[in-house]
Symmetry: D2
Subunit: 410 residues, 4 copies
Amino acid sequence: MTETIVKIDLSKSAYENDMIHNRWHPDIPMVATVKPGDDFIMECYDWTGGQIENNDNADDVRDVDLTQVHFLSGPVGVEGAEPGDLLVVDILDIGAFQESQWGFNGFFSKQNGGGFLTEHFPDAQKSIWDFNGMFTKSRHIPGVEFAGLIHPGLIGCLPSKDLLDTWNEREKELYDTNPDRVPTLANLPYADTAHMGRMKPDEAKVAAAEGARTVPPREHGGNCDIKDLSRGSKVYFPVYVKGGGLSVGDLHFSQGDGEITFCGAIEMAGWIHMRVNLVKNGMEMYGVKNPIFKPSPIKPVYDDYVIFEGISVDEDGGQHFLDVNVAYRQACLNAIEFLTKFGYSKAQGYALLGCAPVQGHISGVVDVPNACATLWLPTEIFDFDINPTAEGPKKMVDGTIDIPLSKDKE
Amino acid sequence: MTETIVKIDLSKSAYENDMIHNRWHPDIPMVATVKPGDDFIMECYDWTGGQIENNDNADDVRDVDLTQVHFLSGPVGVEGAEPGDLLVVDILDIGAFQESQWGFNGFFSKQNGGGFLTEHFPDAQKSIWDFNGMFTKSRHIPGVEFAGLIHPGLIGCLPSKDLLDTWNEREKELYDTNPDRVPTLANLPYADTAHMGRMKPDEAKVAAAEGARTVPPREHGGNCDIKDLSRGSKVYFPVYVKGGGLSVGDLHFSQGDGEITFCGAIEMAGWIHMRVNLVKNGMEMYGVKNPIFKPSPIKPVYDDYVIFEGISVDEDGGQHFLDVNVAYRQACLNAIEFLTKFGYSKAQGYALLGCAPVQGHISGVVDVPNACATLWLPTEIFDFDINPTAEGPKKMVDGTIDIPLSKDKE
Amino acid sequence: MTETIVKIDLSKSAYENDMIHNRWHPDIPMVATVKPGDDFIMECYDWTGGQIENNDNADDVRDVDLTQVHFLSGPVGVEGAEPGDLLVVDILDIGAFQESQWGFNGFFSKQNGGGFLTEHFPDAQKSIWDFNGMFTKSRHIPGVEFAGLIHPGLIGCLPSKDLLDTWNEREKELYDTNPDRVPTLANLPYADTAHMGRMKPDEAKVAAAEGARTVPPREHGGNCDIKDLSRGSKVYFPVYVKGGGLSVGDLHFSQGDGEITFCGAIEMAGWIHMRVNLVKNGMEMYGVKNPIFKPSPIKPVYDDYVIFEGISVDEDGGQHFLDVNVAYRQACLNAIEFLTKFGYSKAQGYALLGCAPVQGHISGVVDVPNACATLWLPTEIFDFDINPTAEGPKKMVDGTIDIPLSKDKE
Amino acid sequence: MTETIVKIDLSKSAYENDMIHNRWHPDIPMVATVKPGDDFIMECYDWTGGQIENNDNADDVRDVDLTQVHFLSGPVGVEGAEPGDLLVVDILDIGAFQESQWGFNGFFSKQNGGGFLTEHFPDAQKSIWDFNGMFTKSRHIPGVEFAGLIHPGLIGCLPSKDLLDTWNEREKELYDTNPDRVPTLANLPYADTAHMGRMKPDEAKVAAAEGARTVPPREHGGNCDIKDLSRGSKVYFPVYVKGGGLSVGDLHFSQGDGEITFCGAIEMAGWIHMRVNLVKNGMEMYGVKNPIFKPSPIKPVYDDYVIFEGISVDEDGGQHFLDVNVAYRQACLNAIEFLTKFGYSKAQGYALLGCAPVQGHISGVVDVPNACATLWLPTEIFDFDINPTAEGPKKMVDGTIDIPLSKDKE
């Protein structure tokens, strides 16, 4: 029977568990050591460490303490792993705990992190998703059910000290260009809420002050939020410290490309089953800077889509130069508008794009001045037909249900 | 037998054919009128109108006159089409001419348009691709062969006068922010090389001065360069003028997401077979601003990929804020580096990413400050195995062949 | 939390559990009643009720008591279900028990049931498969690993008395044409080893004498062994008795089309999570005699195959008339021969065709006198490349390992 | 430009073209010789050589002379091909002639060949299919349109004299068991209508008396009618004579597994573009007896199905022993019954199963006494939704159109 090398207790704070950490630092001690070829299971808190509850009130999303995120399980050492190697991780399976078959999606208040469409959705909102075997649906968004494309939002190896310094420097530099921006330009080290795993208190105090926040994806992978890193995929991670130090968390039951709602995917606590191997000296042999990976043979296939285009002209008519973000934002807004024709609120539409396995493609990035991006909305996740017809759309959702909203406190 | 309503003669200049135009203007006369439900064929020049030849010299790519592009066939009027409708276009088939079974891909000189990676590839280069039935390979890039994902790079309806004015204003505004930039920020109207189809000379002269250039994708679709608009797909185009006025051109035998080489895909002359229908008042009924479409059931399926991540830290270590372009550029550069390990030159790698059906996904756009993009490289297009192994890569390409390069003239 | 309405204890005999039965009879009492729309979990013994063990000895396969099979969980009643309805079953998930992450495949001795190729493999053999998350591999067949296409081999509703009588009559009639045949032509009712669930002893005794054996698929579905009835699929079962009476068992981690090894797939104990609904009067409305179903969106996709043809000329050169069984047997033998070129024993090849998600297509059934069948072998399940090349196959398996065999007792 | 090595003139009889033949014989002279690595085009008559016309009358199907079929193009010699080699054929593309964009499907009269369901459809009927680019629809079967899965029904190399003798002997032996059967058990050599290509008259006369008929699939491939041998696939054919002698014909625009209507698929005249290579001594190296092949990356993907089960109990309740033909016949009849609920005639349903890309799977062949087969009907080919719902089916086809029928002459 496969060993579970990190166990958690959802009824206790993540801070009490020394196999958890929420900052990146080369000196966080390994919680276990495995051999190449081994497979093992790690249990994970949801990314907020349990701050969000299964109820119909978005206050917890509004009041979330984002300095705590993300709670990661690990790091796990791999015998023989050395800087320059590639750590090959087969994601063999992922699941929610039997007693916790649900997840959440939310929009943060613009004052507390926001999201991709925060100008349009400035208030905290959340939706709860129940898991039914391999499928999920939400009591807050009627008429949809889909199979989970379960994946870890955050996974990677510990950075070296040099790499950590590089991260801190470049992000500080950006931050300093507009330190008062809301939402912030970057999340700098913040010691108060750091959880440094098994580091001794004195060392932890020092490390916490320089430990990188877990929010952005970086060279090592990290918070890539790539929906396709799903169970069945095979990932090659750069190794920067002896032993590698693989940490993982932020499990998602499902997510759309872009994780546009920021909070984020369908977020859940659960477990992940992995196997590790090494490609010695793989970084140089294959010229690898960021992780590379191979897709899973066992992902949900929703093959029929309605696809929305967006170009880099913003919603006020402003012309941007080859800006894919603006283009993708337009594609998202176009999809949300389309969904309202079937009776959904805009917030329900936004949540759906964050949760369902929508694809976001970079379609054109050279035809000055407009980038073109496409948002692929799978039609088969709906209980009714959303394909355009000559007769026009039917209101299939009656508008009596919306997703909970909590206004900012005065 | 299906009628060919636009015929072309590749041995003659596109300017001599009055069923061709290379600017967008509401007053360009229809070249034919069809009924809803009709299917028909239109022949198309390649986007440059024959400026690039099937040889091993990139001078023609270096010296291309980009003020001439793109040569479009049409516009075709549809009975009953009125502003506010959606014109439904089934792309039934697309092909190259029997006597012209080849296409080209190129990088423009940085001084003449450049491309997505123009800082890395500042000189004009080109590769020629031979078509073998549904497949293609290039004498300039050994070891790859793949099925065509044939599609029109450019298709859409005529703009209204209001829409045209909006385009010209916003693009001029951007252009004026840095009129000396090389490459240019936007291509403004340019009368000298305009081809206004069947407009009478006097009217054409006036219209040419305000006709929008065909380079960028815009609200009507236009030069979207969406590889998935392939034969078998169904597209819903906004209608802005009576009759719609559907024009099409810039046929591609294959292209990767982003069309990163700008010149661009595997470009070809050929024909397109389409069927049209109407959704009356569809723009309002479905809330459609940009075209929406449905994918084809008959596209090539390359299901095994090596996937490269990129984040919005540029190649000099500069930190950008959630910039998907920077992230996708990194993913592309990572893929090119990887390909060199098998013996390809960087230019061959770059060309491959522009030509082969690679996918570009917007993976994360909210995890400040780093956007994350992924480049999906299909493994099955190669004659050899490019999957990473513990043994490392083998040089399968011996480097004796490269793609032609032409330095800028002094 | 979803209710588990049938629980089992693997350490106890299936005969001790009154929520289990191994015969079909209309009077077997429901073990629970659910409402349309409900989802629930049922635990299941492996089809033999635990006769086969996780070891390297095939004696248990040789000595299996096939009069006991299959041990089914249920029947479950559905409120409002009446004869003539269709019971809609969504298979939401299926899994092995955490403490029992393995399965078995075997060939029965020709004297005890045989299999599709029993003339070529007359002795009992078995292979053990370990489950690693969503994947499996066997210590008896090196070089292969694949994702589970998990499904119930046997599922359906209780027959009416009339239907039961029809079954018994027609099978007896066939049996009587050659009662001494080995293997047998049909398995007739057999009271000695019958387990009639919660029937009272007296009634059970009578019913056992007429209860249909569970071996063949019949009008109600039953032992269809359709690999595509996997988790995520939706099945419409005919209802013959009030309440429906849904029973299920014979869980398979994976299986090839045809279940050619008879014992059978990768057989396992585990649990199944289902949701039920009704289409009232659906049998007549849709003209349904046998179950119909829809495939899952979340099945493993192995898209690259080597495909073997077979025609209805047998291995001795005998000409058969449009016989698909003979044709498929040839295709299977051709595939096994091919696999030996890479170092596998014929028995390993046979086991692979029974376990891996191979497809069996009926390709031609009208071109007298030869039927044509095809066997699709997915290439991606192998650790090495099995595609034919000009260089010829390499022995990738060294022949030191074979699957255990137990000769018949004298 | 690719060379067309066999040209045909649809206005002339196939008998006048010496690059055509309709029997298999080792001595038929090559019509051209190509080198390994070459690609070339061959034009092909429809299988009947033009006996069936594009009209609304089934008399031509009733009166067809089946002793003439199939008219094949070739044989083509390949330099260096020797007995024991594998001839690797890449099917690069296939198409209908521009002036002949249509095909036919028919049921033969029971007295003249019949079909898989001839007891249910004893009269001659036909449907005409128009091709619209990559798609087809029929004026005789409203409400369906689908993409072509274009393939050659018949392709293979010339047999050796020994192999020819084996064929003739075993088929004669079967024929003699019931020489009066209608339809016949086998089609024996028949000199009167033989077309022996470029053989000299005297030699042709002798060879015609022993030339094998082209109807059944055999060891060399031949009339396999495998829908998946579509453009983009790669086939490995056994070589039996020096030069190989590749012949091809019986092009199909689309076909369902089993080609159950016998006449057959959507039959058409057209051209095929192929590339050839050799695996020297491949038959022994890979243990190949029948052709093996790899599927195309560019076939139509219809991923949503309603799937029908059938078991080996015939329509009169008769019990058969593990007979896949009976099981598949039941699955087909079940699907036809289902389609009538939407308004189709049974004949329209039958024709659809012969023409559309339905799959036929061998699901279970070991659970005595019932085989289980499944018929997969793609839902996306219909203009309306055929999925079962609680509301029941709607008559979407009004029954005013049926497919033409011609009664047998008295």
